[in-house]
């Protein structure tokens, strides 16, 4: 998986959690919280959707890694690839 593919998966999740947000102009380097109305509940939902849809576990200490799309991709892409290698 490439980082761009990973970002797309994250955007798909956000689109389901926050269908009222316009996601077409998201800046990957800017914190999601600064561009969208996402509260802590919404971030927890992103974590839970990652687990539900993709089997990816994000421990609480790493939540900070989900701040922006870029940091999501840096953090999650190796996890996706490790998971793919196992199966």
């Amino acid at each position: 998986m490439t980082k761009d593919e990973c970002k797309k998966l994250v955007v798909d999740i956000i689109a389901d959690i926050a269908p009222d947000e316009d996601l077409s102009h998201l800046k990957p380097e800017v914190r999601l919280r600064d561009q969208l109305q996402l509260d802590s509940m919404d971030f927890l939902d992103i974590v839970m959707e990652l687990r539900k849809r993709h089997g990816i576990e994000v421990p609480e200490a790493d939540y900070i890694q989900l701040a922006s799309l870029d940091s999501c991709a840096d953090y999650l892409t190796p996890k996706f690839n490790a998971l793919a290698a196992k199966t």
Partner: protein
């Protein structure tokens, strides 16, 4: 279908809080079952059929309505958490509502879903108070749910810091109390903030189909997420072992186990299910149950739209004829001095008008005065109060020719505190639960939590948020709770 005997989560009650909690839990893969004693879902916001007509119970209007695009509101949070698209609820905004006080309705305040209207009205009728009102409104903070904040101060104490006219104080409290207070004659400041936002800052709306629309959306989400429910199968007892709810005894004689139990039926009502547990556990949940506020509601079906009678502009009218507004359990069957008039037709349905006219009138009532009446007297009392409530409420509506309402009426019904207890199981016909709320939802039984009215969020939006918040806090991510 083979039924399971173990679930991750068992939910007691298929009302709005139970359904909302169920959707969250099922969506994230928990094996959930909702147990409901009644044949219809909805709990305090349900519906029934009579002579081929469906009647709503509870829902006059949904509060917290904001137009699409307004962010960071309870409605938006609810829709996100339940993965519901706004359009699914089909909400249509109100026309206008009024708070009207005085024997002949001398003082009135109009409000709509635009807060500027209420401000203008206050500036006109209470010019000396408008600055104070603006200061008060500015105190209502962002809409973060206040479920875990301790309810500290009296709402009246806070209002009096800014508003010195007792009439205006009562007029502001009247709709907020009627739509969401379990406490007599005052509210806690947290609840005041929630209701002020819900009714004045945000606003009122309704789906043309009423509560059935909301319930259908929730049931469909729940089913699609894999949730189970058993209707006409209540929970008869909670079997406690070592401080945990070890099993649930069902009405049908069966028994199931669950890792977690969420009860929406009320704190005392839940305590009563803990029949085998210690006195201390039960005492911790149970308070007095004689301080519950209940209501009588009359419903008239009209052969025309209310507009044709000259009643087309008001959606909701909150009225009071006395010097002070008394929000308390009345000494007699019904307190007709104050109440709520609701015209379910008078929302902006844009060409999807309801086929028949409806007039609903709701007044405070005393459970004990209704509960033990023999059947014939009970029926007679219902008929008597239907007339008395209609007369009382009529004083606050535009005058119409004598006999016009009777001529337009094609059916009537009335429900009482007794009806409410019979169909919802809530003690004393309570609509808003016990005055003491258990905001963290915890009980002395480790894996048993409360949601719904006794957790402390009221109204339709509040009920759903209560289910969501409790499912999140205790089951989905307990690590984030503190």
């Amino acid at each position: 279908m083979k039924r399971s005997s173990h679930y991750d989560v068992a939910i007691i009650g298929a009302g709005l809080s139970g359904l909302a909690a169920g959707i969250r839990l099922a969506h994230f893969g928990r094996r959930v079952c909702i147990f409901e004693r009644h044949s219809a879902p909805g709990g305090l916001n349900s519906f029934y059929s009579l002579d081929g007509r469906k009647y709503d119970v509870g829902l006059h209007a949904m509060t917290n309505y904001v137009p699409r695009g307004v962010k960071g509101t309870p409605l938006g949070k609810l829709l996100r958490q339940l993965r519901i698209d706004r359009d699914e609820f089909d909400l249509c905004p109100q026309r206008q509502s009024r708070v009207v006080f005085g024997l002949r309705g001398e003082t009135g305040l109009r409000f709509t879903n635009d807060m500027a209207v209420l401000e203008e009205e206050i500036a006109k009728r209470f010019p000396a108070q408008i600055d104070g009102f603006r200061r008060l409104a500015a105190l209502i903070g962002p809409s973060d749910d206040a479920a875990f904040e301790p309810p500290v101060t009296s709402a009246r104490a806070i209002i009096r810091r800014h508003i010195t006219d007792r009439l205006l104080e009562d007029m502001l409290l009247c709709p907020l109390m009627f739509y969401g207070s379990a406490q007599e004659n005052d509210m806690d400041s947290t609840q005041f903030g929630i209701m002020f936002r819900a009714i004045f800052l945000e606003g009122l709306a309704r789906p043309p189909e009423g509560v059935r629309r909301i319930l259908r959306v929730l049931l469909e989400k729940y089913r699609a997420a894999g949730g189970e429910r058993r209707m006409q199968c209540g929970v008869a007892g909670i079997i406690e072992r070592d401080g945990r709810a070890a099993a649930l005894r069902l009405d049908d004689g069966g028994e199931i186990t669950a890792d977690h139990v969420l009860s929406s039926i009320g704190s005392v009502e839940t305590a009563r299910l803990l029949a085998d547990s210690t006195e201390a556990d039960r005492a911790a949940l149970a308070g007095p149950s004689t301080d519950r506020l209940s209501f009588v509601e009359t419903i008239r079906v009209l052969k025309c739209q209310p507009q044709e009678l000259g009643w087309g502009s008001d959606t909701i009218v909150f009225f009071n004829d006395s010097e002070r507004f008394e929000y308390a359990r009345p000494g007699q069957q019904v307190d007709i001095r104050s109440g709520i008039i609701c015209f379910p037709n008078n929302f902006e349905f844009n060409g999807r008008e309801l086929p028949e006219g409806l007039l609903r009138i709701t007044c405070l009532a005393n459970y004990d005065q209704w509960a033990y009446l023999p059947e014939a007297q009970y029926r007679a009392a219902k008929q008597r109060w239907l007339e008395a409530m209609t007369r009382s409420a009529g004083r606050f509506l535009p005058p119409i020719p004598a006999g016009a309402l009777a001529a337009a009426t094609i059916a009537t019904d009335i429900f009482t505190p007794r009806t409410i207890t019979r169909f919802t199981g809530h003690l004393q016909g309570a609509i808003y639960g016990a005055p003491q709320k258990i905001r963290d939802g915890r009980t002395p039984v480790k894996n048993l939590y409360l949601c719904g009215t006794d957790q402390g969020l009221m109204g339709i939006i509040g009920a759903m948020l209560s289910g969501i918040t409790m499912a999140n806090a205790h089951i989905l991510h307990p690590e984030a709770r503190e």
